[in-house]
């Protein structure tokens, strides 16, 4: 028994950054919008007891319940894909705000190079710089076209930063708020990298350096450097998230509503249009159809791809023939880095998710790759996020992992250890892709998404080069022992790495090589939009959210235009 509800102008599947931005912009334009959120409502008031490493950082209290839905994983097509039974490598979100609730707040604009990576690489290094197994392609938009939307996202979010990076794209306006405080730990990095000839600058941050009211009238508080950002919500409303900005903005219009515990299982399509979505009320088990003039998929990378697959919308990517686009160009991130052990105690327990300094000298094509066996690179940062005692037990090389020597060393080094980390680009490869699992199902009987992924030669080379550079910086910072990151072997889904998954529903100028057009409108259904890091044709050397935000604002403008005129936006 399925209940069909009253039709709305726009329905978003998921209410995190994507759903919040689309919701706010469409509602402001007078469209009636419903956000379907599979999780529960939450906000600043729910985070007064948030300083709990065990509950939130170790037991993932804010995150997806894998008992209901997970993915399956294999390193390559010869391996049997098995469920990711426990959370590890990346932390999927659930509930209002999505994974944006427990982000750190690093807010980057991808480099101008990223959007035209194929053209620029071919021009400079020739067509054979990478083998044809790497599916490098331009995004179909340029940085200059996206700049106004980056600007809009940053102003909405109140981003704290300084325009001192010579390598990033030109900005039409300065950061809305000044950079965060430069701590002694950050200064160590600043001094060392300057000495080595690099150009350090304060990391653009969504943990705000001062109180701020955004153009929509939403107020954000000043960051208290409490050290509980990543994996936590902010009890001060000082970390910009969808639930303290765009969602209240949407609600104020009177045109917007969120329906909680609504797990979408299908996008309904007739001819070349979609008609709405089917969802299950997870509290009662009842099924509903929510008809809509426009459907926008704004859940995470994984679920956006899965919904298109189970709904039979678009052609599945086939790694044998290279045909099809859905699931293609899955990307992750390569994390070079180094750890240093110091003599003096430092206030490592203080901090904020985006409190850091970065160099971009080794990112994108900011350095010459002629004699290197890889393209792209990584932003290299030191961050002072607040290290916590369960997860942080730093051990110098050759220390036992338990017993009395372990206890002594882990306690001694807890306040005497720093790390430099790189967010390395991930270049798509023909064997890395998303598909549907033939065996395992979620709690609603829908197949699980299947991930086939391993690191490639390009990844290993990039990692090796930048790990050596990180170790040199750490040495210059005065560490008495420097421990470079281990060489990359096979991708392992167990240890936490990064929640910067990309691709699978990529954007582009050509329908033969992309799932959505440059307005994020589906090539096969003009009233279906797909928004998120799944649109990235490759993953760059930064955290994704700034670029997701810009793409979402640009898509929202397109959706409003589509609602008036219909048809293809490109």
């Amino acid at each position: 028994m399925v209940t069909t509800l009253e039709k709305v102008d726009v329905v978003t599947v998921g209410v995190g950054w994507g759903g919040g931005i689309i919701g706010a912009e469409c509602a402001k334009a007078g469209l009636k919008v419903i956000g379907l959120e599979r999780g529960k409502s939450r906000g600043t008031a729910d985070f007064s007891l948030i300083h709990d490493e065990f509950r939130y950082a170790m037991r993932y209290d804010l995150m997806q319940n894998l008992a209901k839905e997970t993915i399956t994983f294999r390193n390559d097509r010869k391996m049997r894909a098995l469920p990711m039974r426990q959370m590890g490598s990346f932390l999927l979100g659930e509930g209002l705000g999505g994974s944006g609730t427990h982000w750190n707040g690093h807010t980057w604009r991808f480099l101008p190079y990223d959007f035209e990576i194929k053209t620029l690489t071919d021009e400079k290094y020739g067509k054979d710089k990478l083998s044809s197994d790497y599916l490098l392609q331009d995004w179909g938009v340029t940085y200059d076209e996206l700049e106004p939307y980056f600007d809009k996202f940053e102003k909405m979010a109140g981003i704290s930063g300084e325009d001192k990076n010579p390598f990033w794209g030109k900005r039409t306006s300065d950061f809305p708020t000044p950079p965060m405080k430069k701590t002694p730990i950050l200064k160590k990095f600043e001094t060392a990298t300057s000495k080595l000839g690099y150009t350090p600058f304060m990391l653009p941050s969504a943990n705000l350096s001062e109180a701020y009211t955004n153009p929509d009238g939403e107020s954000l508080a000043q960051c208290q450097y409490c050290g509980f950002c990543e994996r936590f919500g902010c009890e001060y409303g000082a970390k910009t998230t969808a639930e303290v900005t765009v969602i209240p903005t949407a609600q104020k219009t009177g045109n917007y509503d969120v329906r909680f515990h609504a797990n979408v299982v299908e996008v309904m399509k007739t001819g070349n249009k979609v008609t709405g979505v089917k969802y299950i009320d997870t509290q009662t088990g009842e099924e509903f159809i929510q008809p809509a003039e426009v459907v926008v998929l704004t859940s995470y990378v994984m679920n956006n791809a899965k919904l298109l697959m189970v709904s039979g919308i678009g052609e599945m990517y086939d790694p044998d023939t290279g045909r099809g686009t859905l699931g293609k160009n899955y990307g992750y991130q390569i994390l070079p880095g180094a750890t240093g052990f110091f003599d003096e105690q430092m206030n490592v327990f203080m901090g904020a998710g985006s409190l850091g300094m970065t160099i971009d000298d080794l990112n994108g094509d900011n350095f010459d790759h002629t004699d290197l066996d890889f393209i792209h690179g990584a932003s290299m940062s030191i961050t002072q996020t607040g290290v916590r005692p369960i997860a942080s037990n730093p051990l110098p090389p050759d220390t036992p992992v338990w017993g009395s020597e372990f206890k002594k060393q882990s306690i001694y080094n807890y306040t005497r250890t720093l790390s430099i980390g790189g967010q390395g680009a991930s270049i798509p490869h023909k064997e890395n892709f998303l598909s549907l699992d033939p065996n395992y199902k979620d709690a609603y009987g829908v197949p699980l998404l299947q991930l086939t992924y391993n690191f490639t030669e390009q990844d290993r080379n990039l990692h090796k080069y930048l790990t050596e550079k990180s170790a040199a910086i750490m040495k210059e910072m005065g560490a008495k022992t420097v421990m470079p990151g281990n060489p990359l072997t096979n991708y392992d889904i167990v240890p936490y790495q990064t929640t910067h998954n990309t691709g699978g529903t990529i954007m582009g100028a050509d329908r033969d090589t992309s799932v959505v057009n440059t307005q994020l409108q589906h090539w096969d259904a003009e009233n279906l939009f797909v928004v998120g890091a799944g649109n990235f044709a490759h993953n760059g050397g930064y955290n994704p959210t700034g670029t997701v935000g810009a793409l979402a604002y640009r898509a929202a403008e397109g959706i409003v235009k589509y609602s008036k005129n219909g048809g293809s936006l490109v």
């Binding site: 300083h51 008992a67 039974r85 430069k182 002694p184 306040t415």
Partner: protein, 249 residues
């Protein structure tokens, strides 16, 4: 022992549980009994800041393990992983065995937030945990296996062993040399070690990290609301430690 009538003394406890005192070694059981001493001076982690003492009857006890014999094996094993030393208490003194017991009785022990649908296949190490065993089942089996190894190697109970003999057994688990069903001993060791660290360093509201002693050793100040005034300090800062229980109103 003026408080004996209000609480349950160690001697009383030993009588009522029928544990033979002769079987005890080290400080193991004494430490393990911390929670059974329901005494007024047994101030636990719910201590209010600013010098105000928040008296809490410490009624901790077993929620998962059914016998003290199993619990004592667990206690000794985690104490070897995180031992008492000149820095301060070890796992037993911090209440870690109770923390683990209590966790095993709840969502963690039953893998409630994890995908536990079949079919189950061994898989590659890069694919992570693939067993149908819950953590509760794994711990129960692991503790039995430790006892079996003690019998096999030294013809003694695990809790009767010298520290170095316990270490030999724990190392055998770590090196995956002990055969377990449905799970590798190496994996059990990893989970046991991780649970020990969680119990030591989690907020005391979870029944480990008694009196925030583990935070004190590590110079982690706990639940401070703000570092805004000190974030630029060149000096290493120390604060009055605070538990989340300070937030109770």
């Amino acid at each position: 022992m003026a408080d004996d009538k209000k609480g349950l003394s160690r001697r009383d406890f030993l009588k009522t549980t029928g544990v033979a005192t002769g079987a005890l070694v080290g400080g193991g059981l004494i430490g393990g009994l911390v929670g059974y001493n329901v005494k007024k001076e047994g101030k636990v982690a719910g201590t209010k800041g600013g010098g105000e003492t928040h008296e809490v009857a410490n009624n901790r006890g077993l929620m998962f393990f059914q016998t003290m014999a199993e619990f004592n094996v667990l206690s000794q094993a985690v104490e070897r992983i995180f031992p008492e030393d000149d820095l301060g208490p070890g796992a037993i003194g911090l209440g870690v065995p109770y923390f683990i017991d209590n966790q095993l009785a709840g969502n963690y022990g039953s893998n409630v937030k994890e995908y536990m649908q079949g079919p189950f296949f061994a898989g590659e190490s890069t694919q992570g945990y693939q067993s149908s065993l819950t953590r509760a089942e794994m711990f129960r089996q692991g503790i039995l296996k430790m006892e079996e190894e003690a019998k096999k190697r030294f013809d003694k109970k695990f809790v009767q062993l010298e520290g170095s003999q316990m270490d030999e057994i724990i190392t055998a688990f770590q090196k995956n040399e002990v055969e377990m069903r449905g799970v590798s001993s190496e994996y059990f060791f990893k989970v046991l070690r991780q649970a020990t660290l969680e119990g030591a360093y989690a907020d005391p509201i979870y029944n480990g990290n008694i009196n925030m002693e583990a935070w004190r050793m590590k110079d982690f100040p706990g639940n401070q609301m703000t570092y805004l005034a000190d974030i630029e300090s060149e000096k290493f800062m120390k604060y009055d430690l605070k538990s989340l229980s300070n937030m109770e109103h």
